[in-house]
Symmetry: C2
């Protein structure tokens, strides 16, 4: 399979695993190539209830990005947002640490209303995606609650309290995915027959590990017998966005694309790294993981498509290698 | 007791019963005279859950009115409101029949968040009122759910579906207050020792009857042994606002201030009616209910205070009559 094969063949589907901003950008690149043949499995470990609303930050970031309405300045929320709700929250003495835009709120309210009426998060997400004309399938990793808990020296914090309220200022000593053992993998995956699986450049600990931690997810990936390709979110020893580098440092892991590759050992067949990290290729390959060099920093929309194409091409090459 | 006695004596408190717009206006007039010595018992029969949010329309109308931020054009919501949330709800295919402004939403979100955290509606309301610098005590009639259900020929409708979604277009054949039997009267009333009780000019069926229907409310009123004075929401054979006249007609009740007085027979000692209805005084007095003629249509803020003063004066006169 070449990249163009995957892109042209109507039956060829791809599954991507994604968290927030970086993952959403690559998912968008893949979506522009594959349309409805893309399924994005999205982290829900950072979901939480706030002001009575069920908020799914990663689902929203991917959804808004694929709908072309993401706020490019914040990395979350909707472009052209207004803040009158937050102004009133401040007046009422409500919690102002998690910023909710007036438009963004509609997503949370519709989701919460439908969840309370008994729908699954998968069904609600599908309805929201239909309304936003999103062709790919966006599926939460599970319809059951999994909640990422951040361990610190002074105790455990719910993810959003660590991530937003404390702005990641507290050193992380460990991470736990509460509810993961009991969570049921999204049943939509049982129908998916991908020709490749792409792990997007999301935070390995905060975004991808919760997905991989849902019982049956790793087994499902293995059972597909297709190349699994990751994109390193660490480029040149730093995270492109977010606290990945900071957390890796705090957990005593080298802040390199090679460490990301090793983190995914046993899960991925290959990793895409930026030319800035070409010097790490030998180290990664020594761990039995194939390497593809490609521009991994997505600034413009074209970069997303290029990186998506590189991922598909890489998966195609790995599939051919297997076929030999 | 004269009106001025009640207004000047710091220990003299008044309890008012109120629903939406008309009730909120008189409550505001009373609040301007009495400040913290006023307790407003507010109907929660039209509370409902919408988009996952707990919405208390009458509590909000009274609260916004007393805070001086009520939207004068709509009769609900906050002045200077914006509608970006509703725009996005429409895009997402969410329910658009109940209009929620961006600022107004903050009230619902704070309330819902605190209710879900285990606080009572009374406690949440008190916190919101503190944030809005409201001196009087606003107390929901009960912390337990009572839901006004509208009976029609084609079945029963939850109140907001009748009132907002169908704009009261369906004829009413009966009204039921679901949960009323099991509701516990707001415990704050046990401490209240009012010198007068005022039934504000709210809809007798939709706003006041749910309050009177909470077990113990009528007994509490009787036990106070103080004048109970109502203000007729029907003036000149029409409702000042809302569907009161329409519903009275549909229920086969004459649309007159006299019918309102008879509706409250056994509960009130006197009723304030507008000069337009002076011809009904004899009919009302024949039913054993005292009558006071006063301008009952509140257009400006000064009208609210005048009517409030008339109510207190009337209660004072009735108390003196009793004393004789």
């Amino acid at each position: 399979m070449t990249a163009d094969d995957a892109i042209k063949d109507d039956a060829m589907t791809v599954v991507a695993l994604a968290g927030g901003v970086g993952g959403a950008k690559l998912a968008d690149g893949l979506a522009r190539l594959l349309g409805a043949r893309l399924t994005v499995v999205v982290n829900t470990g950072d979901d939480f209830e706030h002001l009575g609303l069920h908020i799914s930050p990663d689902l929203d970031t991917v959804m808004y990005t694929l709908a072309g309405i993401a706020n490019p300045h914040t990395g979350w929320g909707i472009a052209g947002e207004t803040w009158n709700f937050m102004g009133e929250i401040a007046r009422l003495g409500g919690p102002a640490w998690f910023r909710l835009g007036d438009r963004d709120l509609a997503t949370h309210a519709v989701r919460t209303g439908r969840l309370r009426a008994g729908e699954t998060l998968t069904a609600v997400t599908a309805a929201l995606c239909r309304a936003l004309d999103i062709a790919p399938a966006l599926v939460p990793m599970s319809d059951d609650p999994v909640r990422t808990m951040i361990r610190t020296k002074s105790g455990e914090l719910p993810f959003q309290h660590y991530f937003v309220r404390l702005a990641c200022a507290v050193p992380v000593t460990g991470i736990r995915y509460d509810g993961a053992e009991a969570a049921v993998l999204n049943p939509a995956l049982a129908q998916a027959r991908p020709v490749a699986i792409v792990i997007c450049p999301s935070n390995p600990y905060l975004s991808i590990d919760p997905i991989l931690g849902v019982p049956g997810m790793r087994a499902w990936m293995t059972a597909q017998r297709v190349p699994v390709v990751a994109v390193s979110p660490i480029v040149g020893g730093a995270a492109i966005k977010g606290p990945a580098a900071k957390i890796m440092g705090e957990l005593g892991v080298p802040v390199t694309a090679a460490a990301v590759a090793r983190h995914y050992a046993g899960v991925i067949d290959g990793i895409v790294i930026d030319a800035a990290d070409a010097g790490l290729a030998a180290e990664i390959e020594a761990a039995g993981i194939a390497v593809k060099i490609a521009p991994a920093v997505m600034r413009a929309a074209a970069d997303r498509v290029s990186l998506a194409r590189a991922c598909l091409a890489f998966a195609g090459e790995l599939a051919e290698d297997r076929g030999r």
